[in-house]
Amino acid sequence: MKKYAYFPGCSLEKMALSYHVSTMETTSRLGVELQELEDWNCCGATAYFHIDELLAYTLSARNLALAEKENLDLVAPCAACYKNSYFTNEYLKEDPDLAEHINFALEEDNLKFSGNISVHHLIEIFVNDIGFEEIKSKVTNPLEGLKVAAYYGCQILRPKKEHLTVEEPVFFEELMKSIGATPIDFAERLRCCSAALIITNRHAALSMVRNILHNAISSGADIIATACPMCQVNLECYQKQVNQEFGTDYSIPVLYFTQLVGLALGISPKQLRIGSELVSTTPALSFAKRGSPNP
């Protein structure tokens, strides 16, 4: 069984608890062990880069050093945690002066960054480690007829990482196909959910969310699938505000890809914490309630 150090990040403790729960349920059934990183800290999000880069690198380096101590590669389900951990790892590996500076700080916590592990986003574990064939073979309740807008958002792909294509990715759509769902053609799939602008620049943010919702709905999607807690919250919890701001009538559920994979594996909606959404998933998922393979 492949084992990873799992860095859930602050959102998954409460706001995105359903992402955490469905991650644990699905990975364990697909033969991957996620061992939660002991005493992990916040990745600093974008705010730390607004104040001081070295502080931002130090935060992520502490988590990397904790994973190194366990001799495990790091997995993050949140796009921001992933991006910060990934690039801190890369920058520190290629810049010994920077690593020395950060290691001077890590000494206070009896930790050391050596640069001998790799960092992955959770969806990469499903796509590359587990693989579509293995997922397909474990599907007992294929999500046939469910039209999914596979929404990548930003920081899983960008800035550019050596192993990922930034403009024409297909892995999210392929993953949705492997569980029997139908990914739709969806032009806004790589556009930004507005991230923290939902707090700091409300009107601009709601307008960005509106564009994505509009495009997903007009492309025929029943549901949006995400791989990031911030994207989920912005696209789902702010639909009401978008409707008030722009006089629209959007109502489309937004679930984590792990929840959809879980349903296809035959896990009950309750075990995947489906039901904690502000936009009901019932119309879109009515077929999944049968909990048995499609006739």
Binding site: C10, E13, K14, M15, L17, D39, N41, C42, A45, T46, A47, Y48, F49, H50, I51, D52, E53, L54, L55, T58, L59, R62, Y91, F104, A105, L106, E107, E108, D109, N110, C154, Q155, R158, P159, K160, V166, R191, C192, S194, A195, A196, L197, I199, T200, N201, R202, H203, A204, A205, S207, M208, N211, C237, Y238, K240, Q241, Q244, S276, E277, L278
Partner: protein, 187 residues
């Protein structure tokens, strides 16, 4: 006679992992502005702000709202034909304006970032209810009520934390950050 540092060089020096001054290589093609989802809301588009930096228009740049509308989506960065890390430039401009305590008054971004950084200093993890205090009171009444309604629904759905999370090794954690920046100023 020693060369004086231009404003463009000053900002370029704040860009991590770049050599020389990448801003001077900008060809003003506008790919960044065409790509940016926030551009329609900015006082100056990303292309224009780079031209202004290179033209030494320091006061106008520092007082622009442009970089506080950057959501860190990095779409400009991956498309720039001169490979300028424009999102990183927006971070650099935010830092420059935070350090100089000079920014357009009606922005929530600077206070929000500062509150976020202090929260992590204090507990090692983020905590939404504390972050909310940095922006809720600058909202108008309708937005305040909307936000309160959303928060109440999230609370009922079990999605808002009641107590702040805290890491166990907090003492060492804070000493660690203290080796990078004197914590006194941020406590």
């Amino acid at each position: 006679m020693a060369d004086e540092l231009t404003f463009s060089d000053e900002i370029a020096n704040l860009l991590h992992a770049s050599h020389g001054n990448p801003l001077n290589t900008c060809i003003q093609c506008g790919t960044c502005s065409g790509t940016c989802p926030s551009a329609p809301f900015m006082k100056h588009s990303p292309r224009r702000i780079i031209a202004m930096i290179n033209a030494d228009m320091k006061e106008d740049v520092v007082n622009s709202n442009t970089y506080w509308f950057c959501a860190s989506c990095f779409h400009c960065t991956v498309r720039c034909p001169r490979e300028i890390d424009i999102a990183e430039l927006m971070y650099a401009l935010k830092r420059y304006s935070m350090w100089n305590q000079q920014y357009q008054e009606d922005l929530i971004g600077p206070t929000f970032s500062e509150t976020f950084v202090k929260t992590i200093f204090g507990s090692g993890r983020s905590y939404e209810p504390v972050l909310a205090t940095s922006y809720l009171f600058s909202f108008g009444v309708p937005e305040f009520i909307q936000e309160a309604q959303t928060a109440t629904t999230l609370m009922l759905k079990g999605r808002l934390p009641v107590l702040p999370a805290r890491i166990k090794g907090l003492k060492n954690f804070r000493r660690m950050l203290g080796r990078i920046i004197p914590i006194g100023g941020l406590e």
